[in-house]
Amino acid sequence: MREITYRQALNEALAEELERDSNVFLMGEEVAEYQGAYKVSAGLLQRFGPKRIIDTPISENGFAGLGVGAAMVGLRPIIEFMTFSFSLVAFDQVVNNAPNMFMMSGGQFNIPITFRGPNGPAHQLGATHSHATENFYASVPGLKVCTPATPRDAKGLLKTAVRDDNPVLVLEAELLYSSKGMVEPPDEELLIPLGKADVKREGSDVTVVCYAQTVPIALKVAAQLEEEDISAEIVDLRSIKPLDEKAIFDSIAKTHRVVIVEQDHPFCGVGAEICYRIQKNIFDELDAPIIRVSQEDVPMPYNEDLEHAVLPNAEKLVAAVKQVCYA
């Protein structure tokens, strides 16, 4: 194991999959000559050439659709959205063409495509540039959605996504691109299955379900709560769809209390779905109502303090945990 950044981990995943399979190509805005808006694709143009690392005009709908078409005849496109906020102009291609093709064609055309890029609020980008799209995409049948929070998960999930024969969205966390973590050496194949959550910290009093940008928040809070003798178990979903129900249920069977901390909007957010499944399947295990911590239901303001107030954060999570513990 060695320590690398989340950005490097993604870069390694891309390089390894491009190396392994000549049907894989990377396409998006500024991915080639500019080395990626966030430098995730740094060095790839030099290594794999312009045929496989392809810059596009600002035409998300067009190149997302191009990727789906190329996938119909067996190529394995990796389509980068500079951020998933811009995937909204390509929404129809991602939710209508990619996931429906297999069903509509009676099983003739599966779409082995990966859509990736940073998702969720970054820092003071304002309402148009701060979209967390996981609940949109997870609600669409035929799509798979993963949300890595660590360099290791980022590398392992992206590689798995590229090898999956269905459309997979890898929702990266811009704020974590420079964060570091231990990852297996390059010569060791690292594949992390979709639909497997990961207990990032064991605990006995309360389960905190989190993913992507909320994982570091949850870990920070867990450490803090320990001093107050509250033992929190941190369950990192890693994949939103398929969802690892069992991991969630197993943890709650231990703690009987749960808080879900998510980065999307509250109304019909990911946490709502998880809450439904918990109460439906293990109603009697719950000693207190489930509480969610998410964004406030308001468009993202630019002002830094206001943005902080809108986002899920440590203070809110601490309060929520205490509420379920002392309920």
Binding site: N61, L66, M72, M101, F102, S105, G107
Partner: protein, 325 residues
């Protein structure tokens, strides 16, 4: 470079007859409520797809919108598989899961059957991208209607195809109407073909009621593309005899206009050409027409008797697990 085999014109005439008779039956079966959802007929436009198919290779890629029965039949999908799809049967070209607007046939390089206007044009560019990526000399034939050219996806796709110089022919089947909206009410241009200039893509106008003109023009363009990859645009002028879909009385146009085009019927026209040249007798024509009708009747019977996909199997069509296709 693999040569384009010459397709016999009489054979192509029977293909047009097959499409015509298939659509007439489909219409009748729709009224008899054997067919559900939306159903868009191709009657009147047969020469467009037939002429195109006659000019290209069987391994070239074909993709179109929701008015797709003719394209599948022309590509080689059996009348049985097409009718069964309309009936929603497991023996249908999309196993009864796609319906009239979503015909697919991988074996015959028919990539759909797409119902969101112009959303398949980027897909077509992706097919063409794959051809160039693999260094093949195929051509992608992307059919769409006159109504599709005002969608953003059309615009982005054409720019991408031109920028990457991809092997694709954009074939605009201009039948003068998008539902009830005539081209002059939808498009700020004297002629659709001019839009290709905005992307530096060569464009031409073709008489879509004339099988031979379509075939020869497509052959010429496809040939140039195979020599050196580039996109091309054809505005093919045609006409649909029926309403937009089965539910449309088409009261936005005059009987006279319709009659004018009927006189120019693509089938009558090719028949006349062949007869004049002594390549076709009336007896032969009647026989071909009789065969087309029989084939379609048999297809109805086949569809009727075919099984539906069992509900338990539906889940196998959400995610591909390596087992299928």
């Amino acid at each position: 470079m693999q040569p384009v085999e010459q397709r016999d014109e009489v054979e192509m005439l029977s293909l047009m007859l097959l499409i015509r008779r298939f659509e007439e039956r489909a219409s009748q079966q729709y009224q008899a409520q054997k067919i559900g959802g939306f159903c868009h007929l191709y009657i009147g436009q047969e020469a467009v797809v037939t002429g195109t198919i006659a000019a290209v290779r069987s391994d070239d890629y074909v993709i179109t919108a929701y008015r797709d029965h003719g394209h599948a039949l022309a590509r080689g999908t059996s009348a049985n598989a097409c009718m069964a799809e309309l009936f929603g049967k497991e023996t249908g070209c999309s196993r009864g899961l796609g319906g009239s607007m979503h015909f697919f046939d991988k074996k015959h390089h028919m990539y759909g059957g797409h119902a969101i206007v112009a959303a398949h044009v980027p897909l077509a560019v992706g097919l063409a991208f794959a051809i160039k990526y693999r260094g093949e000399d195929r051509v992608t034939l992307c059919f769409f209607g006159d109504g599709a050219i005002n969608q953003g996806s059309f615009h982005e796709a054409l720019n991408l195809a031109a920028l990457y110089r991809l092997p694709i022919i954009f074939i605009c089947e201009n039948n003068l109407f998008a539902m009830g909206t005539s081209v002059k009410r939808s498009t700020s241009l004297k002629q659709i073909v001019d839009r290709a200039e905005g992307y530096d893509i060569p464009g031409e106008i073709v008489d879509g009621m004339n099988f031979r003109e379509v075939r020869d023009k497509v052959a010429e363009v496809a040939d140039s593309i195979r020599k050196e990859s580039h996109p091309a645009f054809l505005e093919v002028r045609t006409y649909r005899y029926r309403g937009h879909s089965m539910s449309d009385p088409a009261s936005y146009r005059t009987k006279e206009e319709l009659e004018k085009y009927r006189l120019d019927d693509p089938i009558i026209r090719l028949r006349a050409q062949l007869t004049r040249e002594g390549k076709l007798t009336n007896e032969r024509f009647d026989l071909l027409d009789k065969r087309a009708k029989e084939t379609v009747l048999a297809a109805v019977k086949f569809a009727e008797e075919s099984p539906e996909l069992p509900v338990e199997k539906l889940r196998d069509y959400v995610y591909f697990n390596g087992a299928k296709s």
